[in-house]
């Protein structure tokens, strides 16, 4: 059965699998490296920003914090100076204010330093005003109040500006902190977004790659495998879709070539089977149909002998005897040929059957011969079950045992031994005798049709027995061969399939 030829496809551009894998790997590595590089850069930036926050920003914020503390000390000193009742306390406050104004805390903030210096001077002026007030007579209340009012007013003005400065510094510190937190949060958000995007891209990339690998590699390989299976099962061939992968494309071409070869083999086998069947049919029909005229010849020869035997001279009667013997021989030959052609035609299906039973049946059919020859037949223990047609296997052993009895050594009674050994999926059965033996050059020839090693006068027969044995064994999927030493005996070896284990 020939399947339709595959539809010709345009031959696609091919890529080597190794090169393709390398290109895909590089692509994946580049894409992932790009993503992870960006993520790493973002993380490094975040890390640097965190370090900068600790090393640069925190000191700046702390400086502001210290300035605020010193501004509050300054405010405290000013308030203490205004409220102080003794010159010593006023001097202490004034000196504190001066010390704060002169300290490098405010070095980097010229405006703040100017304000502090100005306020320190204001406090010194205020201290002098209050000292002058203390020097006035106690009853000069209006002047005393005026001086006190001036000192307080000057200080209040300064105080307000110092508080504003402190508030500004606090707000600036908070803003610096907030801005940095915002920057860190932005960086973190970016890193998270990039990580998620990278992850999503990696997943998409893997899915796309898996789909492409499935489409371009797995599916063509599975199709190729299916095609091989279909070829094996002798089913119609489904054309394979051309692929870009060079190795798979080569595989497809090889499968197509193998398919052609196998189809040719199938065709040849079918022709051979048909020819064999025709030959067998011919042999059967010929042998069957040949017997009819032969019976007629034999019958009329008998009639001639009975009716005209008295009228014939000695030579005439001898000629008729020769003709009769020839007809009988031809009949035996035709019967043997018919039996040979029947092997495998009129048989029961092959099934497990006990080998010993087949052997015992064969022995039973040869009882008289065995008795006459004083033969002993030793059957080995535990003969197996074999897959066979029982009647054919019985016939096989009838022939082998019959030969062993027939070609015995006249100097000793026949001794036959049958044993079986397991060998893989087969049983090897040995039938050994102590007969005449066979010269090595005849070991193959004796299995051919009508081949004989002795004359009919020595041993009657047509020479078809071992040919039938060979046909039976080969029909069961086995082999038959022999080992022999002339004068000592012959061992026939044959293999038969062991029954398959139950599933």
């Amino acid at each position: 059965m020939k399947s339709p030829s595959p539809t010709p496809h345009r031959r696609p551009r091919r890529f080597g699998l190794e090169k393709l894998v390398a290109v895909i790997s590089i692509l994946v590595i580049v894409i992932l490296a790009a993503f992870f590089s960006v993520i790493a850069i973002t993380q490094i930036r975040q890390s640097r920003m965190a370090i900068d926050s600790r090393n640069e920003l925190a000191p700046v914020i702390l400086d502001r914090h210290r300035m605020v503390i010193n501004l509050q000390r300054m405010l405290g000193a000013g308030d203490m100076m205004i409220a102080a009742t003794s010159p010593e306390r006023r001097r202490e406050s004034m000196l504190t204010a001066r010390a704060i104004a002169g300290h490098p805390t405010f070095l980097a903030y010229a405006e703040a330093r100017r304000l502090l210096t100005e306020c320190a001077q204001t406090l010194q002026n205020g201290a002098e005003l209050l000292s002058r007030r203390d020097a006035l007579p106690a009853d000069d209340l209006s002047m005393r109040r005026e001086m006190e009012r001036q000192a307080v007013m000057q200080w209040q003005s300064c105080r307000q500006r110092l508080e504003t400065l402190a508030d500004t510094l606090v707000v600036e510190g908070a803003r610096l902190t907030t801005d940095r937190f915002e920057e860190l949060a932005d960086g973190s958000r970016t890193a998270t977004a990039l990580t998620l995007t990278g992850l999503a891209c990696a997943i998409v990339l893997v899915i796309v790659l898996m789909m492409q690998i499935r489409r371009r590699i797995i599916v063509p390989v599975v199709d190729a495998s299916s095609a091989l299976h279909r070829i094996h099962q002798h089913q119609p061939f489904v054309p394979l879709i051309p692929t870009h992968i060079a190795e798979i494309s080569t595989l497809q071409e090889d499968i197509a070539a193998v398919r052609g070869l196998i189809e040719d083999l199938y065709a040849t086998r079918e022709d051979l089977e048909r020819s064999n069947a025709d030959l067998e049919q011919f042999a059967y029909v010929a042998s069957h149909d040949l017997r009819e005229p032969l019976r007629m010849i034999s019958g009329f020869l008998g009639l001639i002998e009975r009716r005209y035997g008295e009228m014939l001279d000695k030579d005439g009667r001898e000629f008729i005897a020769f003709a009769n013997e020839g007809a009988n021989r031809m009949d035996r030959l035709i019967l043997d040929l018919l039996e040979y052609s029947r092997v495998g035609r009129l048989c029961r299906p092959i099934a497990p059957y006990p080998l010993e039973e087949a052997i015992q049946t064969a022995i039973a059919s040869l009882t008289q011969n065995i008795h006459d020859a004083h033969a002993t037949i030793d059957i080995g223990p535990d003969l197996p079950m074999v897959d066979c047609d029982p009647s054919e296997i019985t016939r096989l052993f009838q022939n082998l045992l019959g030969n062993a009895l027939k070609y015995r050594d006249p100097s000793r009674p026949p001794a036959i031994r049958i044993t079986a050994d397991r060998n893989d999926g087969f049983w090897r059965i040995d039938v050994a005798d102590n007969g005449l033996g066979i010269e090595p050059q005849f070991h193959d020839r004796i299995f051919l049709l009508f081949q004989r090693l002795h004359t009919r006068d020595e041993y009657p027969g047509t020479g078809i027995g071992l040919a039938i044995c060979k046909k039976i064994v080969e029909r069961h999927g086995g082999k038959i061969w022999l080992d022999s030493t002339p004068g000592e005996g012959t061992t026939f070896h044959l293999t038969l399939p062991a029954p398959s284990p139950l599933p």
Binding site: R91, A99, I100, H103, T105, T117
Partner: protein, 251 residues
């Protein structure tokens, strides 16, 4: 055998303690003598002040056995350079000469220097202030270097071993002006002896960072000092100690 085992176990148990005791090396910590507010000896012999407190705390944290010595600034620098003093709290700022001799820690406060003198000199310019006047400075100090660079030909520079000695000379009118660290002057000006005097003019410069110094042959100690100072700054210990002795945050 049983006694041997007991002795062995006892030795093993006491080994870490013995090791700790052996590791507690004695360190000489030098402090400047007569620096009121930073390091000066009270009448009962106790050394008090901002630097003294930091030194004690540092010894405690580093697990060191410390001995404190008050020294004039010049001796403090020399003995630290020679290794007799291992750690020094001299309110020292960087100068090229000191950088060659000593190992400087990270800064732990900032100093500014002022002239201190009679109130009547308050409104004079720097040039007028220095012309024809006797000015007291501490020997080997940054102020002495500055004064040598800015003095007029008629300025008489008088050096003293300690700040206390300068201020004593000022109170005794042996000098017309003292050029000292503002925070050391602060305590003097608040005292009865300092009442006739004032800060004169602005600070002489923009101030400098002040450092602990370590003997040059003890870089291991410098690393420990730096780590301890960083901890104290970060956790606010220095701010807390400054508040006990000084009128403001001085970092």
């Amino acid at each position: 055998m049983a006694n041997f085992c007991k002795t062995l176990i006892l030795c093993l148990v006491l080994w870490p303690l013995w090791g700790t005791a052996a590791d507690a090396e004695e360190i000489v910590i030098g402090l400047t003598e007569g620096s009121v507010g930073f390091s000066n000896r009270k009448e009962d012999g106790q050394i008090v002040g901002y630097n003294a407190d930091i030194a004690r705390l540092m010894c405690q944290r580093l697990g060191l056995s410390c001995r404190m010595e008050l020294l004039p600034l010049k001796e403090l620098i020399e003995q630290t350079a020679s290794g007799k003093v291992q750690i020094a709290f001299g309110n020292l700022t960087h100068t090229p000469e000191r950088d060659r001799k000593l190992l400087f820690s990270i800064p732990y406060w900032r100093s500014s220097s002022f002239f201190v003198g009679p109130r009547a000199l308050s409104n004079l310019s720097q040039q007028q202030l220095l012309t024809g006047r006797r000015v007291g400075v501490q020997d080997s100090s940054r102020q002495q270097t500055w004064l040598h660079q800015h003095a007029t030909p008629t300025t008489e520079i008088r050096t003293y071993p300690t700040t206390a000695a300068i201020l004593k000379a000022l109170a005794a009118h042996e000098v017309d002006l003292a050029l000292i660290s503002m925070l050391m002057a602060f305590h003097f000006l608040n005292s009865t002896a300092g009442s006739p005097f004032e800060f004169i003019g602005p600070s002489i410069d923009n101030g400098s960072t002040v450092h602990v110094v370590v003997s040059p042959n003890r870089p291991d100690l410098l690393a420990n000092v730096n780590a301890t100072l960083a901890d104290m700054i970060r956790e606010g210990t220095l701010q807390h100690l400054a508040r006990q002795h000084l009128p403001m945050d001085i970092y």
